[in-house]
Amino acid sequence: MSSIIEMPEFVLEKIIGFSNFKDVLTLRQVCRDFRNFIDDLKDSKLPDSNFKEMEIVSKKDENKIVFAFADFGGTIYRIEYSEFGNSRNFQETWKIFENSNIVDVAIRDLELVLRFQKSKLYRIYFDVNDFQLSPDSSIYKLSVKLSNLCIRINRKIKTEQLYLKKCNQSQIMKFIQFTDPEALEKLSFFADDDDIDDRIEIEIDDIAKTEQWKKAEEFKCDFQVLNLDARDICHFTSMSIKTHSISASDLEFLKKTFINSSTFVYAFFELTIFNGNEIISNLWGPAFITELSRNWYFRIKDLEDEVLHIEIRQNFINFHVFEWRYVLTGARVQDYNES
């Protein structure tokens, strides 16, 4: 037998299963029969690409889409899709696509790569809204096409961290549901410092109903959260949230939750306005006042060596757990069940 394509399908499947994923992508280019064969295989028959991180980015200033895939050995594979040349650049090779939409080419590539990613990613990062205000660009449709891919792929991607830059609620819902709730630990919705003026606002009530949200431990949000409900966030062990305001009763609820938790680390709130100072003083007793802030300390139910520190500094409220020795001299530490 002189050619590999004459071998039984079972054997070809085995060879592909034993190959590494880069070789399978090369093999896919070798001939049409092989490409069809690989494309028709069940994902479970394909080898694992075993990437650590994936970044999907749109760049307005360069009119490009950029994918970066990093493996655990530190190698980064970068693929650029340029709107100008309708071309793809990978490892210094340009390929021009005359009849295809470059966004479709990028989406197809991503869909293929995702078939191979079976092990857990450390992080997946989406920054796909750079063309939001450029409806004439073909890359304008990237975020919609990507959301559709997330639905079409019908398989959950395992990743510890999900980073979403400048997204709206419906995009967040699609991306979040694309991740495996058993793997997801950290959610980060973020904006660059120079985007702060954009004031992205989101409502999290639907997002908070997802399994992914409920099982995550860490939440960081640079967007303004509307209608924040303390019960939606109290399971996070670490969080940093911007919101308009937070009521004294919500703060009391959070305090109670945190002093009964042995895993809580910190919660940081940046508010537009806070006017619960008087009620809080009634609830928590007199604050220990420093030049900059008002402070309270509470024992934690199941932790001997650490205390919960709550600090209110103008519109910033910070809950965090630290060792006893950091309690300011003269401050009183209240028992966890003190009323």
Binding site: M1, S2, S3, I4, I5, E6, M7, P8, F10, V11, K14, I15, I16, G17, F18, S19, N20, K22, D23, L25, T26, L27, R28, Q29, V30, C31, R32, F34, P47, D48, Y77, I79, R88, F90, Q91, E92, T93, K95, F97, E98, N99, S100, V105, R108, D109, L112
Partner: protein, 177 residues
């Protein structure tokens, strides 16, 4: 890794003890070559094992086994591999059956890598027809290893794929450039 106390729990080969005299039978290839083999070696093939069992169950004397889909040259290689592995614990092949990552022992690596690619394809295909798990696995893994890091053009040549293929726009970025 394999403490003695575990080996007692492993299924024992149902073959006769090594001290028993070897039972030799004739094996005929599709192109009429007649070879000889120890029955214990042939039992590594599930297909041949079933045929042998059929003869034994009916108490019929087994003089010659016919293998209709493997030519003499390839059958000789199959029998050489089986002879080398006839005393293997069948539990090992069973355990490796669906594994994604297997280790090729050095004798097998040498045996398989010295073959021209075409002969290796024939050998794996014969192992597939005869259902010899270990040989299928080692063979396929050898083919996968030989493709490692190759470019599209190199793979085409290695695997005997005739003419370059005009790639449609659905082609994807590959790692071979």
């Amino acid at each position: 890794m394999a403490p003695k106390k575990n080996s007692a729990k492993r299924p024992q080969p149902s073959t006769p003890k090594p001290s028993a005299p070897a039972r030799i039978v004739k094996v005929q290839s599709s192109d009429g070559h007649i070879l000889q083999a120890d029955v214990r070696a042939l039992l590594l093939s599930s297909t041949l094992a079933a045929t042998i069992k059929g003869y034994d169950d009916e108490n019929k004397p087994l003089e010659k086994l016919e293998v209709n889909n493997v030519v003499g040259f390839t059958l000789k290689l199959v029998l050489e591999w089986c002879e080398k592995h006839k005393e293997d614990d069948p539990a090992i092949a069973q355990a490796e059956k669906d594994k994604k990552n297997i280790f090729i022992p050095s004798w097998d690596r040498h045996f398989l890598t010295k073959l021209p690619m075409g002969n290796l394809f024939d050998l794996i295909t014969a192992a597939y027809h005869l259902d010899i798990t270990g040989l299928i696995n080692y063979g396929c893994k050898t083919v996968a290893n030989s493709a490692k890091g190759k470019s599209t053009e190199e793979m085409r040549e290695l695997f005997g794929i005739p003419e370059p293929w005009e790639q449609p726009s659905t082609s994807t970025a590959t790692w071979d450039d």
